[in-house]
Symmetry: C2
Amino acid sequence: MKTKERRSRLAVGLISGTSMDGIDAALVRLSGSADRPRVRLLAFVTVPYPSEVRQRIMNVAAGVHIKAAGISQLNFLLGELFANAALRVCRAGHIAPGRVSVIGSHGQTIYHQGAPEPSVGLKGPAGPNTLQIAEPAVIAERTGAPVVADFRTADMAAGGQGAPLVPMVDYLLLRDSRKGTVALNIGGIANVTVIPAKGRPADVFGFDTGPGNIVSDALMRHFTGGREQYDAGGRVAARGKVNEPMLADMLCHPFFSQPPPKSAGREQFGGDFVQHCFLSRKKYRFEDLLRTSLELTAQTIVDALARFVSPETTINRLIVSGGGAHNRTLLKRLAELLPGLTVELSGRYGLPVDAKEAIAFAILADRTMHGLPGNLPRVTGARRAVVLGKIVHP
Amino acid sequence: MKTKERRSRLAVGLISGTSMDGIDAALVRLSGSADRPRVRLLAFVTVPYPSEVRQRIMNVAAGVHIKAAGISQLNFLLGELFANAALRVCRAGHIAPGRVSVIGSHGQTIYHQGAPEPSVGLKGPAGPNTLQIAEPAVIAERTGAPVVADFRTADMAAGGQGAPLVPMVDYLLLRDSRKGTVALNIGGIANVTVIPAKGRPADVFGFDTGPGNIVSDALMRHFTGGREQYDAGGRVAARGKVNEPMLADMLCHPFFSQPPPKSAGREQFGGDFVQHCFLSRKKYRFEDLLRTSLELTAQTIVDALARFVSPETTINRLIVSGGGAHNRTLLKRLAELLPGLTVELSGRYGLPVDAKEAIAFAILADRTMHGLPGNLPRVTGARRAVVLGKIVHP
């Protein structure tokens, strides 16, 4: 990698994840070399989707049939909403949007297929493909800043699964010459990035471990009639007991034993999974189901480290980010199951847990603008390291 | 505009139009200044879509309901087909694809909405929006060349209709200091670019005049049971007579009296229009319907010139391109209706009639790579001239 020092510059990262709650927007100041950037978070906002829009996106992502017109309109509508989130985070940081050197917009995933599958409406299989929407030309026009979007397509065109992409950022910001590090992000899906001590980019690997908060969030919404979106602090789960037979059943899901690279989504652990594994068993207590879903998350993370990481490299610390980092019950359980490791939050390293993914896409966009690759082939399965995304000039 | 001379360079343009027959690919050598480029066509190929794919795209564009998965898979599949067309035209021109400085891919339009309309699946109106597919990251990866794609979105984000875009290229290549020029492209839809003598970019205007070959092609397919896709040379129409009452009816369509800027598509003049205006009247002869549809094309072009062009500027010549330029009956009829004008084919000016649109997107992509705007605000209705498209680096 190039190591030339570069001027300090402003960047914005935008993402709405699998939970589809709203748009996370991070404004950062980047400095230092491309090889070891320094990042300072200047502002962070989350702009919830209007409930009608959220419901629409959830339906589209769940496979509802829709006209091409519907997708096209939604793409432009989300472009306006993402642009608005970018403008808001700039206002929060007291920065004129035109001063931002790049906006990295992940967009909203409405379909992601990491492996060949039978195609919809045509004979034969469809290769890996992905669809993120939120028109970047709209974001560029409203903000006056260059936009990089559609980060996953280039990796998939090069034979990768298009995910996960955050590991490059973990590598850039969290690596250590003496400590083997695992960066654990617990969003809807949980994923790990493994950075061996003194590791180079080609030594880094990572993969999705399975459900993060996706199951717990779905259960909370179900049992509160939509009033509560998540189990704050893991307080409900803390009152429950693990249902061991139910847990044992779920641990047999083939995803968990599949070797990396692998990525998971709503396809595997969304509504169908929750319905089948949890809600079809009406005789159990609410808090026990929450506790069991938390145990599923904790054990599949720990199991993945034991199966796929420890045989390869020594781990000294686990750095946790994502919404799940607020779940004290889950963190406590992880610490119990991993007695040899230091368990820390990513905020300690300049990556506040909620802002980390948005910050990551600001950094990936900055790399694209400098012609640097953003994927890690060993992580995504791509044939080579590629420059990610599409550049739109305002 | 910048006038600096630039080095000779290779570019490829790719487009599949509203007729959805297949992918036109042009390989050109560009030289000269950005203000007055010189273009030489090195190779041109048309790669038909597999019939199953064509039918699928036609259905999706016609508003069939489909899962997001179907759109995502089709985007990647068309990316492979467009990449293949780019590779083929390079092979035909004996050029290694990696030597191409840029590929401009228009993609395949599956939805285009130039004005606000009630939205699909959400309350309230949806603003202008458009959806072109054929994943450019796939084209970049397969060819090793940078790709510019999605040319229409930036203009629409800036308040334009996203069409027509070819007028910039007409301006660059066909303008004349002494002659007022109208460039007429007769594809599925017919459109004109008006370039006053000594005109500057801000003097150029243009718009869609209405149906080009779209009606005639649909009638041919209907009456031959799909064996013939178009009326070759206008030979069937030449045998028929105009049905005057039917023609008078159609000329009342509100599109024709609407002042520019305006753009038309399958939405106005596709299957529904053909069914309603032609096929619902079973007692007429096939050749008379063809002749009447030809007269509709000719008269709406001539009428548009009289209504919207002549009051503004003097026209000396009409330069015709597109598939309709092969229709001798139509050209003869245009010459009869426009006795004061020279009617020529664009091939005379280095733009072979069939290759013109593909060449145009090669030139527009070249402009984007040099940071130059590609739209003409007076033509599209945009608030300002903008750099078009999204850049994907291989």
